[in-house]
């Protein structure tokens, strides 16, 4: 089974999250610049005279597609790296994925998201735990 993680994180946490994921062997990802609102409830910015309220804040959305058995480690890693403890740390969504096709080779499914040095290899081979 393949899963997709959509992690909404703070902009300033991308470097930490990327580095933590690299350490456990998750390299493939893409990142969207997004705006959103949630419990943080916006921020005050300086105007010409005093401040004004901005409700939609810039965040980053990190997308990762991976095998289900790697989901828990990956989510834990993102949480640890992205967390500050203040509201505004973001949310992680997980979806089932029907299929993945690597454009260059035509590989499908799990084979399409594997590469040398990935999380499975680090855990002891492609058919690891």
């Amino acid at each position: 089974m393949l899963k997709k993680i959509e992690a909404i994180i703070r902009e300033e946490k991308l470097a930490d999250v990327k580095e933590a994921l690299r350490c456990i062997g998750i390299k493939g990802m893409n990142v969207f610049e997004i705006r959103g609102q949630g419990r943080q409830g916006g921020i005050e910015l300086s105007g010409r005279s005093g401040t004004y309220h901005v409700d939609m804040l810039p965040k980053l959305q990190v997308n990762i597609v991976l095998s289900e058995h790697n989901l828990r480690d990956t989510v834990d890693t993102i949480m640890k790296a992205a967390r500050t403890g203040e509201s505004g740390d973001g949310l992680i969504f997980v979806y089932p994925v029907d299929d993945v096709i690597r454009v260059r080779t035509g590989e499908r499914g799990r084979n399409a998201v594997m590469y040398p040095g990935d999380i499975d290899e680090k855990k002891g081979g492609p058919n690891g735990p």
């Binding site: 300086s46 010409r48 005279s49 005093g50 401040t51 309220h53 901005v54």
Partner: protein, 408 residues
Amino acid sequence: MPGSINAGDTAWVLMSCALVLMMTPALAFFYGGMVRKKNILSTLTLSYIFMALIGVQWILYGYSLSFGEDIAGLIGGLNFLGFKGVGAAPSPDYGSTIPHEAFASFQMMFAIITPALITGALVERTRFKSFLLFSILWATLVYDPLCHWVWGKGGWLGKLGLLDFAGGTVVHIAAGFSALAFALALGPRRGFKKMTIEPNNIPYTVLGAGLLWMGWFGFNAGSALAADGVAANALLTTNTSGAAAGLVWILLSWLDGRPSTLGMATGFVVGLAAVTPASGFVTPMAAMIIGAVAAPIGYYAIRFREKRGLDESLDVWACHGMSSVWGVLATGLFATLEVNSGGANGFFYGNPGQLFIQLIGVIATILFSFGITFAVAKALDWSIGLRVTEMEEEVGLDISAHGERAYS
């Protein structure tokens, strides 16, 4: 004394023409940074167009209405139509050591930037056609007469003894209160107060403010029409007031949250506008007080305008109008003959009557500019309409009015 051209004076005034011309693009970017990105080209055009519009109008008849032979102290005659008789020889009345053409060109730059200042009030929603018509009417009915009142030979405010070195009344109060009048006639932008309207590019605004400051040396020191001590003093007072106002403004914003970049840039412009009428008549220390007091006036005028729910979008009234009301009055307080023997003493130098004259200048300028602007704007609104359609406003004026986009 008249008749002989001084090379130094002429060089400085020609240089000042270039400096003041630069203020219009600087203003365009100062304003352009503060609107939404769907309206930046439109906002730039609102300012730049005056280089074209007044660049023609001034030659055809604007200069003549402003500086032509006096008619009843109210307006210039038609003797300079098409710059007839405005040549290389000095004018007997204006700038006796520089070519008449240099004086007339220098004044043209003021006539260009003044209506451009007003456009801060009408960004993001005004029909271009109506705006062009308004601009020509404003230049003809407000700027040219007012310029004659204050600076034209025989103009009634000048004859009264009003001290306005570089345009506190003619430029800043007139533009500020016209902006207020136009905004009242026009109405707010869609969504004003209901959603946050954020500036698209504060760096443009900050850069614009820096270039405005530089241009202001031509504006104020150039108004001496000579490369002399009065010019040097005007340059120094200009710098001092801008500095003091920027400093106070950033402190005010700090007290309300954080030291704001946009606030600092705004403070600079407010200090520069405030000292404009005083620059050639007061000492640097007086200029420091003028700038320091102008900052809270502008700062809280913006707050007042916001509380009233009035969409005078880029605060021309607060930043230029109100700060220069203070500046013109402060000229009546701090002016001294020690700085400029061609001026007068103010309140603090034993001449309280000067303050009264300054007050008359302020009131006359406010009533005249506000009244005519409101009437012209309302008349245009009833006849051809001042606003774009709701859809055009939503899409943004870059696309809907000009068929272009700033970024792709």
